[in-house]
Amino acid sequence: MKHIIFLFTFFMTSYAMAAVPALPMGLDDSSSSFSSDSFEDSVWDNFEFDSFLDVRAGTRLYDQDLQSDTSLAEVRLQTGVSYEGDLLSANLVADFIYDDVDRDMDQNFQTGTGSIDLREANFSFTPFDFMDVKIGRQVLTWGVGDMVFINDLFPKDWNAFFIGRDVEYLKAPSDAIKMSLFSSVANLDLVYMPRHDASRYIDGRRISYYDAMTQSESNTVVDAMRQTDDEFTLRLYQSVGSVELAAYYFDGFWKEPEGFDIVAGKAMYPALRVYGLSMRSPFGPGILSSEFGYYDSLDDAHGTDPLIRNSESRFLLGYEQEAAQNFTVGVQYYTEIMDHYTGYQLSSDPTGYIKDHVREMWTLRLTYLAMNQNLILSLFNYYSPTDKDGYIRPKVTYKQSDNLQFEVGGNIFFGETQILPSGTEAQPTFWGQFENASNAFVAVRYTF
């Protein structure tokens, strides 16, 4: 009996030794007083420095004569310094670029050409509990679309997006004063741009476009006359439960040169006012978003001026959800409905390309994370059933380490060749005109 009990006890004890965890440090006999980290105050604690080196190269996928076959060949060093003080914070971010495709460009801080691209140079402060102010060069974004912008009338860089730079370069910086007001009723963002902030549009320098005058693909550089007047935009927003609601207003100019000045013989930016609304909310297992904007093209109130883009309504409906673990699917439907379509039809060149009254577009985003989220497979696809054209953006990103990242991607445009009333064959549609710009690229980024 004694032996049995001994064995039983032994068995129990050894079982317990194997399975019962030891008490962690602090719960065992040792003292458990808490020692907080000691911080030495230094003025440099308020400063942070961030940099990365980004090298990328790309090639065009189709034979063409208008542009260099190398779509991308650049080395970019981004350096950033930020200061966080009690009363003020400040940010300075600049990119130093060696661009082998665009070697001869003059330095221009507005269009971002040349060897320095100033991304941010701003300071911000909180004059009152209910107010934040940010002044200077800054990147601004709002609206609920995914790579589709309606009420976000801040400048974009379409060249950067199409040739395969990092997606952060889709947003060009604004020179602005942003004032944000917060209250329990609603929040208000007011943005004032002392001078028209235009997008870095497709100007033929790097990517050719469909030229309505010649009814063909053209690399003639469009040197648009930038407006010198100011612009103003606001967003009023509030959440009701989990539903985010916002209203928008913009008073300024088209972001791309959507007009032509016959006297100067140059492209220009007509006046534009935009009124909009958006909503974003959880719906089922995903996120539902919707946005509307009315684009009032003030210089062409009746749509009869063929040299100025008509007014239009834009509408977006989107849904995104995690379809499986680490796999996200997002779908958006987008439409543009032209105002005064009859006026447009009657005033347009009868031998040229006439746009449809309604342009519809779908987008699809697929994102898959693998290998502990260090491998990211992503696909973003635009497709227009009305224009029968589209744009596919596949990308594979691999994070070799916390500092080193590799990327392989593509920008593939497609569309249908049309026979215009003049008998000319052309690809005039929104995405189709860029088919020859289709490219594939590789990139390496080292952050430090």
Binding site: I5, F8, T9, M12, A16, V20, P21, L23, P24, M25, G26, L27, S32, S33, F34, S36, D37, F39, D50, F52, E84, S89, S124, D132, Q138, V139, L140, T141, V144, V167, E168, L170, K171, S180, F182, N187, Y237, S242, R280, P282, P285, G286, I287, S289, E320, Q321, E322, Q325, N326, T328, N372, Q373, N374, K399, S401, D402, N403, Q405, T447, F448
Partner: protein, 258 residues
């Protein structure tokens, strides 16, 4: 001899009988001790992620938490490392019933992205910890059984009510009797094999609350482990409600992050 036998009897059967606390109460206390300390809390979190080939990655972020009504909570996460995610912020409204609301802010694009709630058992920032491990698994999602009690621990076995929603068949937690902190959690696959183990390795008492300040998660399926440390922990900081809004998602609330 009789005495020894009696001791053994008490060891084997006594603990359960003497213990008046129901398993539900134990789980509730453990959940509170792990995730609800104080009205609010703050910690600087450092993660060392070691993959199956011993390669190391680092994550560093500050996490702010505030308890709201009905056991709901709000979390604000500000990323400090590595540099490709630096200055990003993440906001979560967690509800006991229903899906989380989540937002992410990407400073280089000035973009506030709303993220669908998604699978709670998905890796948090590429580590071996799941979202659910960081913010707490709903105690009502499992059926709990007290399988053992010794001088130090309550040992609770938990089985999921919805087997399809999780990758484990059951898990076993050693809950420290005095502090109610889970010290070890072992997850079992469908064959009953252990494959994932959480271990608290260091505890400190902060403002009277015993707090796990170092822990690790080892996962044999993924391979490797993540070592997590909490620094600069504080409770009842007095975080204002508006920290958990878009305003501070875009503009880090520096005074509460230090």
């Amino acid at each position: 001899m009789k005495k020894m036998f009696l001791t053994l009897l008490i060891m084997v059967f006594g603990a359960g009988a003497a213990n008046a606390m129901s398993v539900e109460k134990i789980i509730e206390r453990a959940n509170e001790a792990s995730y609800y300390k104080g009205d609010d809390g703050r910690a600087k979190v450092k993660m060392k992620i070691v993959d199956s080939q011993d390669r190391e990655r680092e994550r560093q972020f500050t996490i702010l938490r505030k308890n709201t009504a009905n056991q709901s909570q709000r979390f604000y996460v500000y990323f400090e490392r590595p540099s490709d995610v630096k200055k990003m912020s993440f906001l979560v409204y967690k509800y006991v019933k229903g899906d989380d609301d989540r937002w992410m802010y990407l400073p280089s694009l000035d973009l506030v992205k709303r993220i669908s709630a998604g699978d709670q058992r998905t890796s948090f920032v590429g580590s071996h910890f799941y979202y659910e491990d960081v913010s707490g698994r709903n105690p009502n999602a499992d059926v709990h059984t007290l399988v053992d009690t010794d001088d130090t621990y309550y040992v609770v076995e938990s089985k999921p009510k919805d087997q399809k929603s999780v990758e484990f068949s059951k898990y076993k937690t050693w809950i420290h009797k005095l502090s109610f902190l889970p010290i070890r959690t072992v997850y079992y696959d469908s064959k009953g094999q252990e494959y994932r183990t959480y271990t608290a390795t260091k505890v400190e008492t902060v403002k009277g609350y015993p707090t796990v300040v170092a822990a690790e998660m080892k996962d044999d399926v993924i391979g490797g482990k993540t070592i997590l440390t909490y620094e600069n922990v504080s409770y009842d900081v007095g975080l204002p409600d508006d920290i958990f809004t878009e305003r501070y998602l875009k503009k880090a609330p520096t005074q509460y992050l230090k």
